[in-house]
Amino acid sequence: MSKRKSKETSSVNGECISQVQRILRERFCHQCPNGKLFGVQLQYKHLLELLKRTTVHGESNSALIIGPRGSGKTMLLNHVLKELMEVKQVRENLLQVHLNGLLQTNDKIALKEITRQLQMENVVGDKVFGSFAENLAFLLEALKKGDRDSSCPVLFILDEFDLFVHHKNQTLLYNLFDISQSAQTPVTVIGLTCRQDILELLEKRVKSRFSHRQIYLMNSFDFKQYLRIFKEQLYLPAEFPYKPFIQKWNKNVQSLSEDRTVQEMLQNHFHYSKDLRSLHMLLMLALSSITVSHPFMTGSDLLEASKLCRMDSKANIVHGLSVLEICLIIAMKHLNDVYEGEPFNFQMVYNEFQKFIQRKAHSMYNFEKPVVMKAFEHLLQLELIKPIEGLPVRAQREYVLMKLLLDNNQIMDALQVYPNCPTDVKQWATSSLSWL
C-alpha cells in the first residue's frame, strides 16, 4: 500500500516538475505582459496617463523611454498597453504602429511599414508604392487629413530609437514629431532606447519638436529588493494544479533566499549586473538541473549555474590546448612582459620557445619548426592571437606581427587548472625572468 502510494507521488512529481519548468521557463524567457514589474511604478503611471490622454482626449505627445539594456523598457510599454487595451474606449480607437530600428533601417522601409500597419494599402490599391517621395507625401497627406476630434489616434512605437536618428535628415522623426506638434491626426510617438545621450543626437529642428518627455528606467533597486525579485521570480503561482507541491516549492525558495551561500552568490551576481535578464539566465540554468529525483532547487544548483554564467570564455579555450600550444602562449606572455605589449611575430615566439627547450631539453621534446608553425596557426584560428591591423598583406607568415588576446591573469588561471601540465612548463610560466 505504502509502496503504491509512494509510486503515485513520484508519478505526480514527474508531471509536476515538467509543469514547474514550463511555467518558470516561460517567465524567464518571454517578456510576457503578465509578469510583474519591479520598481517602475512612477514611470508606469506616467506612461499610462500619457497614452490614456492620447486615446481619450486625442492629445498628441512624444516621449522617450530610456534605460540600459534589460531594464524593462519594452516590458513597461507592454504592460501599459495591456492595461490600456482593457479599456473599451481605447481598444476601439487606438491604432498602433510598431517599428524597430533594426528592421526598418531606412525611412523608405519605415514608411512602407507604417502604411502597412495602418492598413492604408486599401486606399492605394494592391500596388506597391512607386517611390519613396510618393510614399512620404501619401502618408503625410493621410495624417494631415485628420484632426483631434475625429481621427483615431495613432501610437507610433519606435524600438531602438537611436537607430532612427541615423536616417538621412531624420526625415521620419521630423515628420512624426511635427505631426505630434501640429493640429493633425493625434499621434503619440514613443521611442525606446538605451542611449543616454539620445537627445544630443537629434537635429535641432527635430529636437525642438520633441516634447522632451523622457522616462528613465534605472534598475534603481538595492540588494534587498533584488532578493525579493529573486523570490518572486521563483515562486509558483497559486493556480498551479498540484497544490501541495506549491507549498513545498515556495518554502524551499524561501529557505534558499535565506541561505548565506546563496545570498553571497546573488550578491556577487548583483554586483556585476543589476538587470533582470542576467538573473533570469542564472535561474534558467539552475532550473534545468531539476529532475524528478531532484525536485527542489538547492544552493549548489545555483552556485553551479553562477559558475557557468561567470565562465571566462577565452580562458576556457586554453584548457583544450596541447602542451606545445601552451608553451607558445607562455612564450608570448614573456614577450609581452619584456616588450610591454608590443606586437610579436612567429619567429620571436619560436626563438623564445627554443631558449626554453635548450634549457629544459631533458623534459621537452624538441619539435621541428613547421610543427611549431602549425601550432601557432592553430592559435590564430582560435583567435587567441590576432594579427595587428594595417600590415602589408603579403608579409611572410613567420613575420606577421601578432598580438596576444589573453591577459596574464587568464593564462595563469588556465595553467592552474590545466590537467597534467609539466612542472617545468608551469615553472617557466611563473618565473618569467629567472632563466636569464
Binding site: 503611471k45 496617463e49 481619450v56 482626449h57 486625442g58 492629445e59 498628441s60 540600459p68 539594456r69 480607437n93 491604432l95 525611412d107 486606399v123 492605394v124 490599391g125 500596388k127 512607386g130 517611390s131 519613396f132 517621395a133 507625401a137 502618408l139 497627406e141 493621410a142 487629413k145 485628420g146 483631434r148 475625429s150 481621427s151 483615431c152 495613432v154 526625415t171 515628420n175 538605451c194 542611449r195 543616454q196 545621450d197 535641432k204 529642428r205 525642438s208 516634447s211 522632451h212 518627455r213 523622457q214 528613465y216 534605472m218 534598475n219 534603481s220 554586483h271 556585476y272 549586473s273 543589476k274 571566462d312 570564455s313 580562458a315 583567435e383 590576432k386 588576446l405 591577459d407 591573469n409
Partner: protein
C-alpha cells in the same frame, strides 16, 4: 448587349462586313463568318462588301483607335507643333493702334497635318498650367498688333476646379466636371496670345432650371449655367443666356458651316482618301436598292422622338449604326450622279485641296443653309441632294429591317456575344464620342425640337469612322448639314408611313433586356480605356458602351461600385486617392477640469487666436507680400530664426490674413502653396510638390522642373500670383544648388508673379551655403526672428491660457525665465507648462490652491533638462561603477584620454583587491564594458580586438567622480 449591338453592326453592315472579314484575325472566325453570311443573305450586298473590302484592308494595319488616341494626346500635349494663321483678310484695322482685326484663326497641326478653323464667338480651350485641364474661353476678338503678334481677347469660363475651394460650397450642389461658369471675376487678363489656343470646344448654355446632363462623360463638351463674379454664383442673365444659345444655335442649326464641323470634332477630322473612294463605290451600289426602307426608317426614328425619353434613347442607340453608315455614304452621295472613275479621282483631288478655302467654294453652293458662307472648305459631303439623304436613310432602314431578323437568330447569349465582338471592330473609338452623340441628341431635342437622333448619331459616326481612318485629310461632312432636307423629307414621308412606327417601336423595345444583361460588365470595362490596352479589350469595352448609354443614369450606379476591386490597374498610385486615418469610434472627451483645459490650450498644436510678441515681424511680412500682390510682381524674402521662435506660424498667419483680405476683395486673389524641405525625400522633389500643389499634375522631378520653368517664364493667361512658402530651406541644398537657384530665379522674371517666403534656421545661410548667384537672387529682404525673451514667453503663456486660472504667476515667470535663458524656444516653454500641469494633477493633494506652483514647474524643468548621467551612474551596478573608476584611474596613470580594456582591467582588478571584492573574469569585464558602451557612457571601439579594444569616456571625468563620490 449583343442584341443591342447587333443592329448597329447591321446598320453599318456595308463597312462592317468588309471589316469583319478582313480583320478576322482579331475575332473568332466562326462568329464573323456567321454574321457575314446572315447579312449577305438578308440584303444581298455582297458585292458592295467585297468592293470595299480590298480598300479597307490596307488601312487595317494601323489600329485606328490607337492612332486616334495619339492624335488626341498630341493635340493637348504638344502645343508647340501647331501653326497659327488668320482666316481671311483683316476685317478691320485700327490705324492708330496699328492693329488688324480678324474673324477667325486657322490652326494647323504640324504632326497630324490636321487643320481647324476657329471663328469669333466660338469657345476654345486655352493652354493653362495644367495640360490636362486647359482653360475654357469664348473668343471675342482676334487681332494682330504692330509687332506681328497674334492676340485674342477672350471671355473666360472657369471649371469648378479653378474656383477657390471655400467658394465651391456656395453652389450647394454637386457640380459635374463638365459644368463651367462664366467667369466675371476681375483680375484675369483677357488678352491672350493666340498660340495658347489649343482647339475649339463645345459649350452648351443651360437655363437655370435645366439640369446638367448627368451621363455625359465626353470631355469636349461643357455646359454653362451660372456665372461667377469672384464672390458668388449667379444664374446666367436671360439676355446672356439667349445670346449664348443663339450663338450655339447658329452654329448648330446654322449651316454645314466649317465652323460647326470644327467645333464638334476639334482636330479629329481626318479622313482618308481611300475611305472616301470605298464609300463612293459602295454607295452607288447600295442606295438604289433601298429607297423604300429609308422612309420607313426615318419616320420611325422621328416618331420615337416624340415618345417618352427612355424609348427615345433606345431608338437613338439603335440608330447609331445606321447613322454611321450614313456618314460613310455621305461624301460620295453628292457625286453619285456623275460617278465615273475620273470623277472619283477628281473627288479625291478635291478632298486633298479641301484645306484651301477656294477649293470648296463650289461645293458650298449646294448647301441650303444661308448662314455664314463657309470659308474653309468642307468636303464634298455637304451635298444637299435628296438622293444623298435618301442614301443615308436607306442605311437606317436596313438596320431596322434586319433587327427582327437578328433577334430571332441570336437568341442565345453566346451568339450575342460573338456578335458584339464582331461589332467591335468598328467601334474602336473612345466612348466620348458615343456619349457626345447622345448628348447632342438630347440637346438638339431641346433646342430645335426636331428629330435629331439620326443626325447626331451620324455625326458621332463621322467621328468614329474618321478617327479610325485617321489619315490626313480635310474635315469631313457633318451629317447635320442635312438637317433642312431631312426636315422636308420627314414632313413628306411622316404621314405615309406612319403605321410603321408602331411596329418598329416594338422591335426596338425588344432589345432592352439584352442591354441590361451586359451592363455591369460594360461599366467595368470602361476602366480599361487606356490607349495601350490590348485591342481585344478595347473592342469589347467599346461595344459594350453603347448599350450602356441607352440606359438611364440611375441604372448605372450599382454596376459601378464593384468595378474597383478586381481591376489590377495601372501601377500608379491613384491620383485622387484620399488617404485618411480611420475615424475614431468614440468621441474625444472634453477637458474635465481647469488643468486639463489648460493643458489643451498649452499644446503646441493649438493655434492661438492671436500671435503675441510677433506683431512687428507679422507686419513686415504682411506688408512685403501685400505690396507684391498689389503690384502683381514677384519677390523673395528670407526668414531666419532658431527653432521654436514662431517663424512658420507667423508666416501662416500672414497668409491667413491675406487670404481673408483677398476674400473681401481688398487684395487681388492669390494662390498659396507650401513646401517643407524636411518633408521631401530629395531636394528635387520640391519641383514635383510645387507643380502638384499648383496644378495637380504628378510628374517626375526633371519634367516638373521644366514645366515650372515654362509656367513661370511665359505670360500665362488667367494666372494668379502665387505665394510659395519654402520651409527648412537649407535642406534644399544640392551640390549644384540648382533647386535653390531655380526657386529664387523664377520670382525675378516679369511674368512669374511668384512670391517666395523662405524659412530656415540660420541667419547667414545665404552667405554660408549659397553660391553667389543664388544668394544674389535671394536678395536682401531678410528678416530674423530673435529668440523670445522671458517677457514674451510669459505673454505667450498668458495669452494661451486666456484667463484660465491654472498657474501661479510666479510659476509662469519661472518657466519663462528658465526657457529664455536656455533657448528661447516657445515649444519648450509650452511643453514644460504642460508637464507641470500633469505633475500638479497627480500631486494635487499636496498643493493647497490646486494651481500649478513653482515646485511643480521646477520638477518639470528638472525632468526635462537635468542630465540623466549622474542618476544613471548612481543606479549602475557595483562593477560598472568600479569599471568607470578604473577608467579614470587608468587615464590618470597614463595621462591619456583613451585606454584599452586590458589596461583598465588591470586597474579594475587592483581596485577590487582594495575593496575586497571577488575578482571578475575578463568575460565579465567585457560584458560590463559593452553595457556601458551601449548606454554611451563609454565610447567603445567596435571591432573584435577583445582585450585591445580602446575605450573613451563619453561623459566628463568630473561627472563620473562626482557621481561616484556621493555614495
Amino acid at each position: 448587349m449583343a442584341a443591342a449591338c447587333a443592329p448597329r453592326a447591321r446598320g453599318g453592315r456595308g463597312l462592317q462586313l468588309g471589316l469583319a472579314r478582313n480583320s478576322s484575325r482579331w475575332l473568332p472566325l466562326g462568329a464573323c463568318a456567321s454574321v457575314v453570311t446572315s447579312q449577305r443573305a438578308g440584303l444581298g450586298l455582297s458585292r458592295a462588301i467585297s468592293c470595299s473590302a480590298a480598300g479597307r484592308e490596307r488601312r487595317r494595319d494601323r489600329n485606328p483607335a490607337q492612332l486616334g488616341e495619339e492624335a488626341e494626346i498630341m493635340n493637348t500635349r504638344q502645343q508647340c507643333k501647331r501653326i497659327y494663321s488668320w482666316v481671311g483678310r483683316a476685317k478691320s484695322s485700327d490705324q492708330q493702334l496699328k492693329t488688324f482685326q480678324y474673324r477667325g484663326i486657322l490652326i494647323k497641326s504640324e504632326r497630324s497635318l490636321t487643320e481647324m478653323c476657329i471663328l469669333l464667338g466660338e469657345f476654345v480651350l486655352v493652354e493653362g498650367e495644367n495640360a490636362d485641364q486647359p482653360f475654357v474661353a469664348k473668343l471675342l476678338k482676334l487681332y494682330e498688333d504692330g509687332s506681328q503678334e497674334k492676340h485674342a481677347v477672350v471671355q473666360w469660363f472657369s471649371r469648378i476646379t479653378e474656383l477657390p475651394l471655400n467658394k465651391r460650397k456656395l453652389l450647394q450642389r454637386e457640380v459635374s466636371p463638365q459644368e463651367i461658369f462664366l467667369d466675371k471675376a476681375p483680375g484675369y487678363d483677357t488678352d491672350i496670345n493666340v498660340e495658347t489656343i489649343i482647339k475649339n470646344v463645345k459649350v452648351i448654355p443651360l437655363a437655370p432650371e435645366e439640369a446638367v446632363p448627368v451621363r455625359s462623360k465626353g470631355k469636349q463638351i461643357f455646359f454653362v449655367k451660372e456665372s461667377w463674379d469672384g464672390k458668388c454664383f449667379k444664374p446666367l442673365s436671360p439676355g446672356l443666356l439667349s445670346e449664348l444659345k443663339e450663338a450655339e444655335k447658329n452654329k448648330r442649326v446654322g449651316s454645314p458651316s466649317p465652323l460647326t464641323a470644327c467645333q464638334v470634332f476639334p482636330s479629329d477630322f481626318i479622313c482618308s482618301l481611300k475611305a472616301e473612294t470605298d464609300r463612293v463605290t459602295r454607295s452607288t451600289v447600295k442606295t438604289k436598292n433601298i429607297q423604300m426602307e429609308i422612309e420607313s426608317r426615318h419616320s420611325a426614328s422621328k416618331s420615337s422622338l416624340s415618345k417618352e425619353r427612355h424609348s427615345q434613347r433606345v431608338a437613338n442607340g439603335i440608330n447609331t449604326p445606321g447613322a454611321r453608315k450614313k456618314l460613310q455614304l455621305n461624301s460620295p452621295t453628292k457625286s453619285r450622279n456623275k460617278l465615273t472613275g475620273g470623277d472619283v479621282l477628281e473627288l479625291l483631288g478635291d478632298d486633298c485641296d479641301a484645306l484651301e478655302p477656294s477649293a470648296t467654294k463650289r461645293k458650298v453652293t449646294f448647301t441650303k443653309i444661308l448662314g455664314s458662307p463657309p470659308k474653309i472648305s468642307r468636303t464634298n459631303g455637304e451635298s444637299d441632294s435628296p438622293l444623298g439623304i435618301r442614301g443615308d436613310w436607306s442605311k437606317l432602314a436596313e438596320t431596322i429591317r434586319i433587327a427582327p431578323y437578328r433577334r430571332g437568330q441570336d437568341s442565345s447569349p453566346k451568339a450575342k456575344n460573338l456578335d458584339g465582338k464582331d461589332d467591335d471592330t468598328w467601334h474602336l473609338n473612345g466612348r466620348n464620342e458615343e456619349e457626345e452623340t447622345e448628348e447632342r441628341a438630347r440637346e438638339s431635342r431641346k433646342t430645335t425640337k426636331r428629330a435629331a437622333t439620326s443626325k447626331s448619331n451620324s455625326k458621332s459616326d463621322t467621328n468614329l469612322a474618321e478617327e479610325q481612318e485617321l489619315m490626313t485629310r480635310s474635315p469631313v461632312v457633318i451629317p447635320r448639314s442635312h438637317r433642312k432636307c431631312v426636315q422636308k423629307t420627314t414632313a413628306r414621308i411622316a404621314e405615309q408611313l406612319h403605321f410603321l412606327n408602331i411596329s418598329e417601336q416594338d422591335r426596338e423595345d425588344d432589345y432592352l433586356p439584352s442591354i441590361d444583361f451586359s451592363d455591369s460588365s460594360s461599366s467595368e470595362e470602361e476602366e480599361n480605356m487606356v490607349p495601350c490596352t490590348p485591342k481585344r479589350k478595347m473592342r469589347s469595352s467599346t461595344t459594350l458602351r453603347t448599350p450602356k448609354s441607352l440606359r438611364k443614369p440611375s441604372d448605372i450606379t450599382p454596376a459601378k461600385t464593384p468595378r474597383k476591386t478586381p481591376e489590377p490597374r495601372t501601377p500608379k498610385t491613384p491620383q485622387n486617392a484620399t488617404p485618411r486615418i480611420p475615424i475614431r469610434n468614440q468621441a474625444t472627451e472634453k477637458p474635465a477640469n481647469v488643468l486639463e483645459e489648460a493643458r489643451l490650450r498649452l499644446h503646441v498644436s493649438t493655434i492661438p487666436g492671436s500671435l503675441p510678441c510677433r506683431e512687428e515681424e507679422f507686419q513686415d511680412i504682411y506688408n512685403f507680400v501685400e505690396s507684391k500682390l498689389i503690384d502683381g510682381t514677384g519677390g523673395c524674402m528670407y526668414i531666419s530664426g532658431v527653432p521654436g521662435t514662431g517663424k512658420t506660424v507667423t508666416v501662416h498667419e500672414v497668409i491667413r490674413c491675406l487670404e481673408q483680405a483677398a476674400e473681401n476683395d481688398e487684395l487681388p486673389s492669390f494662390q498659396f502653396i507650401e513646401i517643407n524641405g524636411m518633408k521631401l525625400t530629395d531636394p528635387h522633389q520640391a519641383y514635383v510638390q510645387i507643380l502638384q500643389l499648383l496644378t495637380g499634375q504628378k510628374v517626375t522631378a526633371t519634367h516638373a522642373a521644366e514645366l515650372l520653368a515654362k509656367l513661370f517664364s511665359t505670360p500665362g493667361p488667367k494666372r494668379k500670383t502665387t505665394v510659395l512658402i519654402v520651409d527648412e530651406l537649407d535642406l534644399l541644398w544640392t551640390r549644384k544648388q540648382d533647386v535653390m537657384y531655380n526657386l529664387f530665379d523664377w520670382p525675378t522674371q516679369k511674368q512669374a508673379k511668384l512670391i517666395i517666403l523662405a524659412i530656415a534656421n540660420t541667419m547667414d545661410l545665404p552667405e554660408r551655403i549659397m553660391m553667389n548667384r543664388v544668394a544674389s537672387r535671394l536678395g536682401l529682404t531678410r528678416m530674423s526672428f530673435q529668440p523670445y525673451t522671458y517677457k514674451q514667453l510669459q505673454q505667450i503663456i498668458s495669452s494661451r491660457l486666456n484667463h484660465i486660472k491654472a498657474f501661479e504667476e510666479d510659476a509662469i515667470q519661472l518657466v519663462s525665465r528658465k526657457v529664455a535663458a536656455l533657448s528661447g524656444d516657445a515649444r519648450r516653454c509650452l511643453d514644460i507648462c504642460r508637464r507641470s500641469t500633469e505633475i500638479c494633477e497627480f500631486s494635487s493633494q499636496k498643493s493647497a490652491s490646486g494651481l500649478v506652483s513653482m515646485a511643480h514647474v521646477m520638477k518639470a524643468i528638472d525632468e526635462m533638462f537635468s542630465s540623466p548621467y549622474i542618476n544613471s551612474i548612481r543606479s549602475a551596478s557595483l562593477h560598472e561603477q568600479m569599471f568607470l573608476k578604473a577608467i579614470i584611474a587608468e587615464f590618470r596613470r597614463s595621462g591619456l584620454e583613451e585606454a584599452t580594456v586590458q589596461q583598465i582591467y588591470h586597474q579594475h582588478v587592483a581596485l577590487c583587491r582594495i575593496e575586497g571584492l571577488q575578482i571578475p573574469t575578463v568575460s565579465e569585464i567585457m560584458a560590463v564594458c559593452s553595457r556601458l558602451g551601449a548606454c554611451r557612457f563609454l565610447l567603445v571601439e567596435s571591432n573584435n580586438k577583445y582585450l585591445h579594444v580602446r575605450v573613451r569616456l563619453n561623459i566628463s571625468q568630473d561627472d563620473v567622480t562626482y557621481a561616484l563620490k556621493q555614495e
